[in-house]
Every structure is written in C-alpha cells, then in structure tokens.
C-alpha cells in the first residue's frame, strides 16, 4: 500500500516539477507547482511528518502559491516560447541538470550511509506531531525560530514597500472613503444601531432638527 502511494505521489511530484519548467503559461506553471506541493505533502505523510505535511499545504499551497496566483493574474501570462535564451544555454541547461542528477545520486548512494536502504528508525509515538515540533522549536531551536520570525516580519515589510503603488488610490482621495476601524467599534454615534431607537422613533432627533433648520420641513 505504502509503495503504491509513494509511486503515485512521487510521480505527481516529478510530473509537477517538470510541468513547472515546461509549461508556457506561467499560470499553468503555478498550478503545476501546486500539484507538486500537494504530492510532496503526501510524501511527507508517508515519512510520518504530519505537521510538516500540514504546514506544507497551509503555508505553501495556501499562502505562497496564492501570492503567485495573484501576481500572475495581475501581470498576465506572457505567452512567450519557453526557450529563448539562445540555443547555447538551452542545450547546456538540460545537460547540466542531468549531470547534477547523476552527481547527486552518486553522492547519496555512494555515501555509504547505512540506513539509506532501510525503512528508517523505528517509529515512536508522537514523532512528527505538533507537540514534538513545538517542543523542539522552543528548546533546541529557539534561536532559529526567533530569527525566522524576524525574517518573516522583515520580508512582509519589504514586500509592502516594494509593491506599493507609486500612483493611484492614495493620491486620489480615496482614503476619504469611510472604513471600519477599531475605534468605531467602541464609538456609538447617537442614533445609530441601538435597540431603543429601532423600536421607537425613526429618525434621531439631532439629524431631524438639522434638516428642519435647513428649511426642508
């Protein structure tokens, strides 16, 4: 059973990867990568990394790829030929990739790692569970955890600054458009939304007086 799942999932992962490189339309490339990521999540599950699998889907498929989708939809897919970098690089790149693959395989298989041909260490309850991950993050890997969170913060700020509109809404007075703020939650305008008024008079007096003063009534 595990073999079948592995076969299907790895096929999905490799197929998705090839799709990313080979598809012309960036939108399809993004979709191929989503497929790749989901297959990878299945592989993670096989490796008993539940939390990583869930994080993979939530973070990658749910957030990172969403960004891609937005940007591709915004910029629009350019239907350019896949390979226009010139024949030299176009030919050299697959060769390079192939050579890299051979090298990696040699490195891993020839490394003499004993456990590589095994099913891995015996499974312990709680392996890869949120509890274990959390414990590791807050004990042994506290520094990387904190650094990573700062990195995220910096990246968020950077992205906002980079993608900020140079012209458009801000300058053209759209900030006048009313928006809901926290303060509004606590501010009760007279005659707005209270039960007493809904049961009683239709119009709050202040407003009616004002309209009367202006001569409407």
């Amino acid at each position: 059973m595990a073999e079948v799942v592995f076969f299907v999932a790895s096929l999905g992962a490799i197929g998705g990867a090839v799709g990313v490189v080979a598809l012309r339309n960036p939108f399809y490339s993004v979709l191929a990568l989503v497929g790749h990521l989901l297959s990878l999540a299945a592989l993670f599950l096989l490796l008993r990394a539940e939390f990583v699998a869930a994080a993979q889907v939530v973070v990658y498929a749910g957030a990172v790829m969403v960004l891609y989708v937005f940007v591709v939809a915004y910029i629009g897919g350019a239907d350019r030929p896949v390979r226009t970098t010139g024949p030299g690089l176009g030919l050299a790149a697959p060769l390079f990739a192939g050579a890299l693959f051979v090298e990696l395989c040699l490195a891993m298989l020839g490394s003499g790692l004993k456990a590589i041909d095994a099913q891995g260490a015996p499974y312990e309850a709680g392996f890869g569970s949120p509890g274990q991950i959390g414990e590791l993050f807050l004990t042994r890997f506290l520094l990387p955890f904190e650094v990573a969170s700062y990195l995220l913060l910096i990246a968020a700020v950077g992205a906002v600054i980079l993608a900020r509109r140079r012209r458009g809404l801000e300058e053209e007075g759209l900030e006048d458009v009313p928006t809901v703020t926290v303060a509004d939650l606590f501010r009760l305008e007279p005659g707005v939304g209270t039960q007493a008024e809904s049961g009683g008079m239709l119009q709050d007096r202040r407003e009616r007086d004002e309209r009367e003063r202006k001569g409407g009534w």
Partner: protein
C-alpha cells in the same frame, strides 16, 4: 490566457460591460464601466434597448387613446404619465377640471408615488444585499395595487386619469380602504427604517457615497428626490401647484449632503408626506362631477344615451373619431416620483396629436450617474444606480 487582465497594461484599467442583462441595472440598461481594481474610473450609460417608439405610436392615435400608450413609459408611475399628458391636452383645450376630479387624481397620484417608492426601496435594498426588504415592500405595494384595482379595474396601467377628469368615481367604501392603508403605511415605513436606517452596514454603505453638489445637478437638469437630497427644495407640487396641490399641507423633505443616504432618506420621508396628502384629499374630497361636463371631450353618462339624441351623437363622435384639439403647443410639467415629468404636446387641429414628447426624469437624471459613480467602488456604483432609481421604460420610451 483567457482573461486579459487589463486593456492596456500601462493603464491597469479593466473595462466591464454591465448589462444590458444584469440583475442590478433595474431594467435593460447597459453600463460601460472602466475599473481600476475595484474603483470605477469611468462609467458610460448606454440606453435604447427598450425603445418602443411610444411617441411615434401616439401620433397615430386619438388623444384619449394615447393615454394607455404613454402610461406604459414609466411603468412604475403610470398615473403620472397619464396626468401629465392629460394636463397638456387640457391646457390646449382650455379645459377646466372639476375639483373632485382633481382630488381624485391627487389621491391616485400619491398612492402611485408610494407604490413607486416602495419598488425603489425594495430593489435598492436588494442591491445592497438586504434581500428581505424586497418582499416587505412588495407586500405593501400589493395593497396599493389592490386599491387601484378597486377604483379602476386594473392593477397597473389603469388609464384612470382622463382628459377632463377621471374615468369613474371611486366605488363606495373605497375611501375606507384607503384610510385603512394610510393608517398602516407610516407604521410600515417606520419598520423599514428600523431595518435599514438602524443598520450600521447600510449606513456605511450609503453615507458620504456618490456626493454630487447642487450646482452640478442643476446643470445636469436633475430634479426630484435627487435634487432635493442635495438641499434644493424644488418640488413642483409646492413651487407650481397643479391639480389642487395647493390645498394640501405637506412638507418637502430635503437632504443636506447630497449623498446616497440623503437620497434614501428623502424618498423615505416622501412616503410619509404622500400618506398625509392622501389622507387630506380623502378628508376634503368635494362633491361634484368626476369628469368635465364638456360633452365634446368627455363621454356622456350611460343613462343619457337612451334618452338624449345629442348624447348619442356625442358618444358616437367621441368613440369613432375622438375629440379635436385646437392647434397649439403645450408643456405640462408635474412632479413624478423621479422628478419633473413633462409632456410636450403639439396639436395640429386634428383628433390626433402631432407630436407627443415626454421629458422623462429618468432619462435626464441618468446623465448624472457618471458624475456620481466616478472614483467610487463598483459596489457603490450599484448602490448609486439604485438610489438614482432609473426606470428604463421611461428612459427609452
């Protein structure tokens, strides 16, 4: 890629064709909308999809047969269409309308105004997403329709208002039914207000949206609730009373800001005022004929036909040919639920009008839409269109 994200990448504008078949355009209206993200940068109304040539048709019909034709223009304010046409013809004939007929006309006009505003309220609320309002409004509108049916036999396009008066006196007991309605209606409007006017979401959707100042509106020829919402108390019922409106005590609600909220409030209050007018008209309904005694214009009563040769001749003449109208031109403006509705009628002396042209308020007011919608959100464009209350039958005629 199936959707080209933008027309030209450097402008980031997305052109959207709203309509002619779109749930929120209140008819067969087409809007060419240029969007930048969710913001409307340009909006061009395109009309003519329900042009039915009513004005041309009217030229081929006897005067009294024109009434049902013009009634079908602004299909929510049919009494008003008939009233303005009849007033123009009466002006050409130099005809005096009996007091009772004038009062009866007023009652029906104001009931019709309520019905029209109810449809507006229901559909506008629907456009804002408040789906229940629609049914509540139509529940009350149904009662008005029933009253119309009892007085004229028809629910819509009643052809009740005739040249020289009204088609028939109201049946016995009708007044009580109207009173029952006018007693109930203000309570209902209170309830609508409680549902919408007390709702934070509605307030945020309407307040300070689509503000256009009074001068621009005047230049655009905008009249009616839209102009009053901007603070100009122009109401023909007050300014140039017709059909005995000077007899009634009512107020003209005006707004202060000229935003969608004011437009909403003005119409809500107009319903109260209309109810007041109907009550007063019922109270002071004078005795007397319901249509002019001029046998050249109005059909003789049925019972005279058997005894009076003259009546028979008049009847024959009117039914076969219709009455002739002395040559001339007349323009009769009245205050319809949407603004100044005027019929321009030219007579060449025959029994058929030589030209009937309607100054329909929807047609004129629609020009204000681009001014209102510009630089707002798409959602506000829909709300604004709803608050504009265009009736495409009136626009395209």
């Amino acid at each position: 890629m199936p959707v080209a994200g933008t027309d030209r990448p450097d402008e980031e504008l997305l052109t959207i064709n709203m309509g002619p078949h779109h749930p929120a355009t209140h008819g067969v209206l087409r809007l060419m909308v240029k969007l930048e993200g969710e913001v409307v940068r340009d909006c061009k109304p395109i009309i003519g999809y329900v042009h039915t040539g009513i004005e041309k048709t009217a030229e081929d019909k006897a005067y009294w047969k024109v009434i049902p034709v013009v009634e079908r223009m602004d299909y929510l304010a049919y009494y008003f269409n008939a009233q303005t046409f009849c007033m123009a013809v009466e002006q050409l004939l130099g005809l005096e309308v009996p007091k009772r007929a004038q009062y009866l006309r007023v009652i029906h006009l104001e009931l019709n105004r309520i019905a029209s505003h109810l449809v507006w309220l229901g559909t506008s609320a629907l456009d804002l997403g408040a789906i229940s309002m629609f049914w509540y409004c139509f529940r009350e509108r149904e009662k008005v329709m029933d009253l119309f049916e009892q007085s004229s036999g028809q629910r819509m396009h009643t052809r009740y208002i005739q040249v020289g008066g009204v088609f028939e006196d109201v049946p016995a007991g009708w007044a009580d039914k109207v009173r029952a309605f006018t007693r109930e209606m203000p309570r209902r409007v209170d309830q609508y207000a409680a549902l919408l006017d007390r709702n934070e979401i509605v307030l945020r959707r309407l307040r300070n949206v689509a503000v256009v100042d009074e001068q621009t509106l005047l230049g655009l020829g905008v009249t009616g609730p839209l102009l009053r919402a901007a603070g100009n108390p122009w109401d023909l019922r007050k300014a140039a009373p017709y059909s005995s409106y000077e007899d009634f005590d009512f107020k003209v609600p005006v707004g202060t800001v000229g935003d969608n909220y004011d437009r909403f409030k003005v119409r809500m209050y107009e319903m109260y005022e209309s109810v007041k007018i109907v009550e007063q008209a019922l109270e002071g309904l004078p005795e007397g004929p319901f249509i002019t005694e001029d046998r050249k214009v109005a059909l003789p009563p049925r019972h005279e036909l058997g005894t009076s040769m003259e009546a028979l001749i008049h009847h024959f003449k009117l039914v076969t040919e219709g009455f002739r109208v002395p040559p001339g031109e007349a323009y009769a403006p009245i205050e319809s639920p949407r603004g100044e509705l005027g019929a321009w009628v030219r007579s060449d002396g025959s029994a058929k009008p030589a030209r009937v042209h309607m100054r329909d308020p929807s047609f004129v007011n629609l020009q204000a839409l681009p001014y209102m919608a510009k630089d707002g959100y798409v959602a506000d464009l829909i709300a604004t269109l709803a608050m504009l209350d265009p009736i495409l039958g009136g626009i395209d005629r």
